[in-house]
Symmetry: C2
Subunit: 421 residues, 2 copies
């Protein structure tokens, strides 16, 4: 039986993240692949009590309920964004609860994108966001970036030439690069998009995962025309399995998104929203977030230390001050997929075979993939596994480089090529 | 600020169901509008214990998890469909868990529909399914129906002429008409779609809500080519607020849908899936379903009795043997929207003002709406409210008819028009 499927199904034939999650489920493998928070930090005992109380005391969590979400949670989110994200004008009417940020990407794509419409993204950017735009059959334009964020010189000309229907950015602790935009760059960027009147979807999944005491501003703080839609999430600060996230935006767009959400899934489960609201009411959420950040920071620092010790010269990597990932820039001749295969096959460390998984860089590019990158997750591994895993990774990489020079020597009769900086 | 939105947002500018849910939330109003199960039947105390145990004993329910769904629940669903739905060939690989059936409609639409593709539906059909197809900018073709289901005479010619990309049907206790297809009609229909090789999305939301002892067959039971995608749901048999439903179909389509689901929402919350699995493992699910059916049947019978007593002559209505709705066929001259306004304004019953809400028929037609219908929900009202509410409805309808005859008399100088049969 040959089915006639919609054209969009051809655009996302394979799925890197699905492979990642399958790899990550095998406890034998040291996985730096997925973007998973460490399960040992989930407040599951608190949730157990809260869920039991909600369900014992009534049936509100089990009935059909308004699409926009659980009002007390929407109010709490609006207040937090006002206080901690520098926005100072949001109420519950600006907040739509979604089934994870991925559902927010689905809804915002549906809101703006016709077939062939242009989306502008950072280069590189979050791979499953690329897929969300691909199934709307969007066209992509990459925005060049430096370590301060999207490069604003020439951006207005690019926007006027390519007329994007929306821009997608991750200004804080970007996935995969770990980059955070400078405040100055945020303001310049918003001046330009405000002049050009382009909607901006700002992904704030890692917004509160900060290793230093600094807070960040949402782009909404510099948005006089209501162009910014921010995607916030409880996945990284409480638990991803509950699938509760939100979109904050102008009331007008919020209403439009609610109509689209009703057609997509009617509503996000109230039980899950009420569990989260119960937690932030009864417990010290700021302390919980601080505990997460401390753990991540320690793991990140260890990974950086091990990378410094083990990486061959000329291999650079990001030093994030938040989020979950380190982004490694390899010499261009390294075949990253082969490197992954070697790491997955395993290497002996202290007399024991250790297998390591990571994500290759190519899927993080909508087009013109730079294949010589690796994304390493540090949040979901113990010290021991980070230490062992990075040793495997560095050893495999050194071999790949040595092999190349060996081959190069043979092919070039003794000439030695220099490793790309 | 004028936003440039995607074209699809124009297709679903207003939303009838959103209005319905808002009306239904006001306890003053006797609501026959929504399709809500009665909250007093939700097993919330059992859920409370199950949820507490799941969360106390571990963190599996809180971490990212495979898109396809919780394997033990997928296995249980496959077994139940084999045993109770007459399918006899499904395994967990044929089951994809979705966030409610609405998410199943979103995914199946994405799987099959390009812009302008044709969808064939029963006339009338479920209004939010129409919206799910509309946001893919589909074209609609209605299939004429009688009390045995879709009329199969001429169906093959219609399919070959209009080349639908998919067919959407609700063969058991249809929403809104209450109709259940005869077994013979199911088989004839499947013979035709098998010859024409058209995928069929079969909505089974009310499949287990039977007032008599009969079981029903899924169209999958007559599907040698793997063309049927069945949407099953726990919303009507356990609790809609948990948002757990499923799609069953061929393994090939199941894999394609899982890729689309990953882009739509990554996964359905595992806690919710584990609560349902815990319930069907620990409690007598068949007894629970039988209790629901008995309650619905009693309410349905009372509503039919009150309608028989109160409706003016010439007004016909369905006598469902399952599901949640009675479908009323009014004389064509009755202005249904005005009738709703009168009912919402309220009428005095036994010295007290009672307000009544229902859904008008027009939104259940993809096009060529027959405006002279009303859908009444009986599942979510007590005996007293059904009795009072139907008195209000019948009294308002009698007035509307009397007014019309009064007007008709005036306009036609004494001539009396007959009420449509």
């Amino acid at each position: 039986m040959e089915y006639k499927l919609a054209k969009r199904t051809e655009n996302i034939a394979s799925s890197e993240v699905r492979e990642i999650l399958k790899i990550a489920q095998n406890p034998e493998v040291i996985s730096f692949a997925g973007g998973m928070p460490p399960a040992e930090l989930f407040p599951h005992l608190e949730f157990s009590q809260i869920a039991a109380d909600i369900l014992k005391s009534g049936v509100e969590s089990l009935q059909y309920a308004p699409t926009e979400g659980y009002l007390p949670l929407r109010r709490w989110i609006a207040e937090r964004m006002d206080k901690k994200w520098g926005i100072r004008r949001f109420t519950s009417s600006n907040i739509l609860i979604t089934g994870g940020s991925q559902a927010g990407l689905d809804l915002t794509s549906k809101l703006f994108l016709n077939i062939g419409d242009c989306v502008m993204c950072e280069e590189p950017t979050y791979l499953t966001a690329i897929n969300a735009f691909r199934i709307q059959e969007a066209e992509f334009v990459n925005m060049p970036c430096d370590d301060q964020g999207v490069i604003t010189d020439g951006l207005e000309e690019l926007i006027r030439a390519r007329k994007p229907k929306m821009i997608y950015v991750i200004p804080v602790h970007q996935n995969p690069s770990g980059r955070t935009w400078s405040l100055e760059r945020c303001k310049k960027f918003m001046e330009i998009v405000t002049r050009c009147e382009v909607p901006v979807v700002e992904d704030c999944a890692y917004f509160e995962i900060n290793f230093n005491s600094q807070c960040h501003c949402s782009l909404s703080a510099f948005d006089p025309k209501g162009l910014v839609l921010s995607l916030g999430s409880f996945s990284k600060v409480l638990a991803p399995g509950l699938r509760v996230a939100w979109i904050s935006c102008s009331e007008y767009l919020c209403k439009k998104l609610a109509i689209l959400k009703q057609v997509a899934d009617l509503q996000t489960p109230y039980l899950n929203q009420m569990i989260i609201h119960g937690y932030v009411q009864k417990y010290d959420f700021d302390k919980h977030v601080a505990d997460i950040c401390r753990t991540y920071k320690e793991r990140c620092e260890l990974m950086i230390e091990e990378l410094k010790k083990g990486l061959p010269k000329g291999v650079s990597f990001s030093h994030p001050d938040g989020g979950m990932f380190i982004w490694i820039h390899l010499p261009e001749f390294v075949k990253v997929r082969e490197l992954l295969n070697v790491c997955m096959a395993g290497k002996e460390i202290n007399g024991e075979k250790k297998k390591v998984a990571f994500v290759t860089g190519a899927p993080f590019y909508a087009y013109d993939a730079q294949a010589n990158h690796v994304r390493l997750n540090f949040s979901n591994s113990t010290f021991e596994r980070i230490s062992d895993g990075i040793k495997v990774f560095c050893s495999a990489l050194k071999e790949a480089i040595a092999d190349y020079y060996g081959d190069a020597k043979e092919n070039a009769s003794g000439g030695v090529m220099r490793c790309g900086a």
